[in-house]
């Protein structure tokens, strides 16, 4: 697997410090599956040395979209990329998320964690009923709301400051959406407003966001399994260095460039 140089065709700042980059990357666009990521070199030289793993946010024909939040030196360099530049990327990497056929799906994203969920929503089969819950600190920081709505999904919003949607945490919306979980995670309540309209049908929950959010979500939805993306420092992204370890409940580690990045959050220590 060789890194490829991909022309950047469009850059847009979605909100302060969050950038959307469209890359011309036909090979990646053809192969990438929801859950996978690209490992992006942010400088041409040895500093910073390592690539930055960025989940694929969307694919359109031969183009791949990445949405990046500036958190450190590496992502700050990515934020300076302009249309016409080339990015050195390796991928697609990571294990594709489980395929979802004829299942109800709940996507729950917080902040920049919203980005990879869009590609999930895009690839769901028609039979899937999709609900999307998006959270952020403020209305201005809610990402990709228009794109999710365009998928035909029911979209509910939550902001910490109440400037849009529910004033509070997105995990509260998730809990409200799945009111009666029963002992074995079955959604049994016919009163459920948004999902599980058919008694006994259990939605699949995918989440991405900051760790405290994910931990809170797992706790609130227990025992419903939650699939999610976890961020951790990564070395290679290809499974050769054993650096992106996440402790498993009951011992051992999950390497999420290899076994993830989408893992069953119930099985790891967040």
């Amino acid at each position: 697997m060789r890194p490829t140089l991909c022309p950047v065709v469009q850059v847009r700042e979605l909100c302060a410090g969050v950038f959307s980059l469209w890359l011309e990357a036909p090979e990646i666009a053809r192969r990438v599956r929801p859950g996978q990521f690209l490992n992006v070199k942010v400088s041409s030289g040895p500093d910073p040395l390592l690539r930055r793993p960025i989940s694929v946010c969307d694919v359109e024909r031969s183009r791949v979209r990445l949405v990046v939040r500036v958190v450190g030196r590496g992502t700050a360099l990515l934020g300076r990329v302009r249309a016409g530049d080339e990015l050195d990327v390796l991928g697609p990497l990571g294990r594709p998320a489980p395929e979802l056929h004829h299942k109800d799906v709940l996507l729950c994203g917080g902040g920049i964690g919203t980005a990879p969920l869009l590609f999930f929503g895009r690839r769901l089969k028609r039979a899937n009923r999709l609900q999307v819950l998006l959270g952020a600190r403020t209305k201005a920081e809610l990402l990709l709301v228009r794109e999710f709505r365009a998928l035909g999904a029911r979209v509910a919003l939550a902001t910490d400051d109440g400037s849009a949607g529910h004033g509070g945490m997105v995990t509260e919306l998730a809990e409200a959406a799945l009111p009666d979980r029963g002992r074995r995670g079955q959604v049994r309540s016919p009163k459920s407003r948004v999902l599980g309209q058919r008694v006994g049908r259990r939605p699949v929950v995918f989440a991405c966001g900051p760790r405290p959010m994910l931990a809170d979500l797992v706790k609130r939805l227990d025992p419903i399994p939650v699939w999610g993306f976890v961020e951790e420092r990564m070395g290679c992204g290809t499974g050769i260095c054993y650096c992106c370890a996440l402790p498993k409940k009951g011992g051992g580690h999950v390497r999420f460039c290899e076994e993830g990045p989408v893992v069953r959050l119930n099985e790891v220590l967040l």
Partner: protein, 300 residues
């Protein structure tokens, strides 16, 4: 040009190896491994190890620190699950072994002797474990004892991977040579500490091993010194990012090079190093690599 190199009785088709811990077991990228001289596996210990808690890696301008802590399935599972697959690789497979006692090195060597692997790289230099590791490698007498024991328990090629942490590798290299090592690898990562903005150790294992470009001048210095002191072949390691770096190691006296950290950035980095070396040989009409090996000393 024939680029075959012998370390002990083992012939390597070219002089580039993937360094231990940076290329898994060569199985993730077999098409890369197959075109290298060989792959040195992740370190294997007698018992399985879950490794250090995260974070296990961080960067600094010039390289990285890692503290994986020898996560591996243990020698038994390695022999049942991994070796049958590495045996299908077309390159040489050298198993890096790490013990926590002298006896463990002997047991590891004996267990692997009947397996279809090409050699052992005796790890007396891991910086990320509390006992053994680099502590063994700091004492020439211990290096000698471990090497002698491994030598006694295996018929395979024995390479000793030395540390340069608080020790003159000339002394430990001589000790390894005296005890029957077929070659030495110089150097493993150097001890390092990274702190977060609040002054807390950043890595889950508290300290780590420094690798990458920043290591190269010191690694070259070590290879140059040791090359003047031992006759067994030296495998140069430490910050080889491209063919020019590899050439420096050869000039300093290394017979082969290992590519490590660069694999994390580009899984085909070691192949690129080899392609660059071949190109250099062609452009400079080399008839064999011995024209380059050790020339730094001839030219000073």
């Amino acid at each position: 040009m024939n680029s075959q190199v012998f370390i002990g009785q083992t012939a390597f088709v070219n002089l580039v190896l993937a360094a231990s811990g940076t290329f898994e077991f060569g199985l993730k990228f077999p098409s890369v491994a197959n075109r290298l001289g060989g792959v040195v596996t992740k370190a294997i210990t007698l018992q399985p190890r879950i490794g250090n808690p995260p974070p296990r890696i961080c960067e600094f301008p010039g390289g990285i620190l890692n503290s994986v802590g020898l996560e591996n399935p243990g020698v038994e599972q390695f022999c049942t699950d991994v070796v049958p697959r590495t045996a299908k690789l077309k390159c040489r497979v050298v198993v890096n072994i790490a013990g926590f006692t002298l006896d463990e090195y002997g047991e590891l060597a004996a267990r692997l002797d009947s397996e279809p692997v090409d050699g052992l790289e005796v790890n007396v230099s891991c910086p990320n474990v509390r006992e053994g590791g680099a502590l063994f490698g700091q004492q020439p007498r211990v290096v000698e004892a471990i090497t002698a024991l491994v030598r006694k328990r295996t018929t395979k090629t024995v390479i000793v991977k030395l540390t340069a942490n608080f020790v003159d590798p000339v002394e430990t290299a001589k000790a390894a040579e005296a005890a029957g090592a077929d070659g030495v690898t110089l150097i493993n990562t150097l001890f390092g500490l990274a702190l977060d903005e609040d002054g807390r150790p950043f890595l889950g294992g508290r300290t780590g091993g420094v690798s990458g470009p920043a290591l190269k001048p010191f690694a070259l210095f070590c290879v140059d010194r040791v090359a003047a002191a031992v006759k067994i072949p030296i495998i140069g390691c430490g910050g080889v990012m491209d063919a020019a770096d590899a050439l420096d190691f050869l000039s300093a006296g290394a017979r082969m090079v290992q590519v490590g950290t660069a694999n994390l950035v580009n899984p085909e980095a070691a192949l690129d190093v080899w392609a660059g070396l071949k190109q250099y040989a062609q452009e400079n009409r080399l008839s064999n690599w011995q024209q380059v090996v050790g020339r730094a000393r001839r030219r000073s």
